[in-house]
């Protein structure tokens, strides 16, 4: 059964449980939703061990779910490939084998026309993150090319690119330098005027006791003209124009009063009409940015918590996103601009089957860090941010 409407299925699920007075809750569990076990310690199965598997980068290429992880402590992260159709892990690559000393792939992937994926890393001891080129073969093999360190002593916190210009853009950690990488010439360029200023840092760190991950842009996006959208402290929505290499502040990010210093873009998606949708970590607002008019519309918060860690667009034309984060629970939500607006789907709970648990167990997603749609938009894939993280997948109906 393909589901006709998530909302309807949700309602049906609820009614099914309820009897005459609907009081108890079901979780969001469309019948075809499923989990893929990607993490398990001490096993012969192809799994990621504990503390190295928080799925912080995620994309889908044909049948392949491709992930990059963040490890805890000084452990090394993984790249992995899982099959959407087979519902199982296919390939695992310990990044330490190719690029030692890294702990996190948290930028997401930027894909070029040649099916190469670009991602940045954060490092453990040296501080020097790397830019990676990742190619997943038809056999699900993972080939990693180390393109070097964009900013010595700095990690790569966010990344996007422009396929027509053959450019990659990123934000360095902890200083917040905007940098570019020319795919053709292999040259990095660091924009020194883009870093967090000492005065800003004084406010953010000394007065508000924030860490760079609390105020640096965690996600960037390019529009159809190749302009690059990001944020800079404090709470500024900024566009970089590759033509003149200048940064322009478009506006403040939508703020809940008092939380301006937490304002930063941490997710973006584009809809077919060319509109950009962004997530502000500061208080978890979804906003719309029209690149044509440069107007920002604050669409509000789906749920209580701040953070909005991921956005993507389904085949049904709806935006799917991840609202909230620790110390709260992540809520999966959808947003239909032309219809019902927000629908909070809460914690998804799908059946996870694998060798040894063939009967299936229910897996509830509490802490989700990444969300991506399949290329046809018919599947939405979510990755967890746990000590042992799994994938959760659900189908959406084509069209509305």
């Amino acid at each position: 059964m393909k589901i006709r409407s998530l909302k309807m299925v949700l309602a049906l699920g609820l009614v099914g449980l309820a009897g005459p007075v609907f009081a108890q809750y079901s979780y969001f569990k469309p019948l075809e939703g499923f989990g893929i076990e990607t993490s398990l310690s001490n096993t012969a199965l192809l799994r990621m061990p504990m503390y190295r598997n928080a799925i912080t980068s995620l994309t889908v290429q044909n049948d392949y779910i491709i992930g990059g992880t963040t490890a805890m402590g000084n452990r090394a992260p993984f790249l992995f490939v899982a099959s959407l159709s087979k519902r199982e892990m296919l390939t695992l690559k310990d990044l330490n084998a190719d690029v030692p000393g890294q702990t996190s792939i948290r930028t997401g992937f930027f894909r070029t026309a040649d099916q190469a994926l670009y991602a940045g890393t954060m490092a453990a001891t040296t501080g020097s993150g790397h830019l990676l080129r990742v190619v997943v073969g038809a056999d699900a093999s993972i080939r990693v090319t180390d393109l070097g360190t964009p900013v010595p002593g700095e990690g790569v916190f966010a990344l996007t690119g422009n396929d027509s210009r053959k450019m990659i853009y990123g934000i360095s950690y902890p200083s917040g330098f905007f940098f570019s990488y020319n795919i053709g010439s292999k040259a990095f360029k660091v924009y020194k005027n883009s870093a967090v200023t000492p005065a800003e840092r004084h406010v953010l760190v000394d007065e508000f006791h924030q860490k760079p991950e609390d105020y640096l842009s965690g996600a960037m996006v390019t529009d159809q003209q190749g302009l690059v959208y990001t944020s800079q402290p404090i709470n500024r929505l900024v566009v970089f124009n590759p033509a003149d290499e200048r940064f322009t502040t478009l506006s403040e990010l939508p703020a809940v009063w008092g939380r301006r210093t937490l304002g930063r873009t941490e997710s973006w998606t584009k809809t077919a009409d060319g509109l950009l949708y962004g997530g502000n970590a500061g208080d978890g607002q979804l906003f719309q940015l029209d690149p044509a008019t440069r107007k920002v519309k604050n669409l509000g918060k789906p749920a209580q918590m701040n953070r909005l860690r991921g956005l993507c667009v389904g085949a049904d034309g709806k935006i799917y996103g991840l609202s909230g984060a620790s110390p709260g629970y992540v809520h999966l939500f959808s947003y239909n601009p032309s219809g019902e607006g927000f629908t909070d789907l809460g914690n998804p709970q799908f059946i996870l089957k694998a060798p040894g648990i063939e009967q299936g167990i229910e897996w509830r997603g509490f802490q989700l860090s990444a969300i991506a749609a399949s290329e046809d938009g018919k599947y939405i894939v979510m990755g967890e941010d746990e000590a042992l993280s799994q994938l959760l997948v659900f189908p959406v109906e084509n069209g509305n």
């Binding site: 009897g19 059946i351 009967q359 299936g360 167990i361 229910e362 509830r364 042992l388």
Partner: protein
Amino acid sequence: MGNKMAVCFFLPKKIRVKVFIRLVVLAGLCQVGVLPASAQQKNNKDNIAFIKYTGFPDAHSTWDDIGYSKQAGKVVVGVTNHVDKVMLYAYDVTTGKMTNHGSLADRGHLRPFQWQAKIHSKITEGKDGYMYFSTDGGESREEYFMEHPAGYSGGLFMKWHPGTDGFVNLGLGLPYESVKDMDIDPVSGKLFGISYPQVHFLVYDPAKNSLKDLGRLGSSHVPRVLFTDWWGNCYYVDWRQRLVKYQTAQDTLLFARESLPAFEGTPGEKIVTGITAYAKDQKNNVIYAITYGAKILAFYPQKEGIGRVEDLGGVADSRSNIKPWGPYVPNLNIGDNGKLYYFVGGHGNFLIENRTVMMEFDPKTKKHTILYEYPVDQLSEATGSDTKDQFGNLYFAGRRELDSLDHSEPFLIKFNPGKKVSR
């Protein structure tokens, strides 16, 4: 199903079978059903007593929250109204006196929005003589009004001293989460906790006020039981019902390669819920455990590595009308005779429909003996692990159904295999 199980405690029972009192029973509390034909003659009603908690008219239930203070010679139980009031009771095993030591909220200086619906953890003795435990939201409000306002603010570690009556609120586990069970490393004094609903394994060192979150270990339903070995290592299960050992010396987790034994066909929600009760026999280096899938296991812990697990079979002789994984046993004690004692039934999972039976199990012969059988209005459920006093009396936290709307009355069960028990 995971979720349904989590909330079924406060759902009205949709289907209630009227209980016919087939056996001659003495009316009222503190009186027990007479022996079924199958019971051994040495265990009669003088071997078991139901003991009231006094001075708490809206007492509703107890939830695994029982333990024995060796230093004070007292059985300590947390009794709850199952909404927002939990009272601490101590039963003096020598004098037979039951004393109410006040509410957790008042003694822990909690504000009304910091309501605690129950203690769901064991109550366990530290070498400082304090009895340690943790608190639970245990309510629809917790499960659904997530992220507090005005849901559940979070479960706490606490300790109470049966000698001095000293009480210390040791602070929160995780915000918005219950601490479903806890245990203590008697050597280092470190506390272990498991959070609900996120199944995070917590290590709290009261001496340093240091709380470490070792992360999520479970599925959608939280295994309720942690237990420790003689070296202070702590055991739990992952979602595949593999033992997970917190190695206290190394401060790391070790996962068993294999899952614990389960009956073929055991549903996933039984698997992920793990162990429901345990009893320790240190002399013989064995810890007996019962799973939510109704297996009895003998686990032989080792200081290093994960020890051997032996499958002792089901919790009851097989019956054609009962799935082998079906009976519910959230309690276990071991007698001085080396035999296991437990009550089967509760939460809708009975061996005999709507009747709770007390079982004797001999790990050597693997023989099951039904000692007592109760209609649910006399005994609907018993909880508690490994609670034995210096006289060899075994204790369980029992309750009986009062109506079909989930009203119940809790009481302490005292049992001695082969000896008369006093109240």
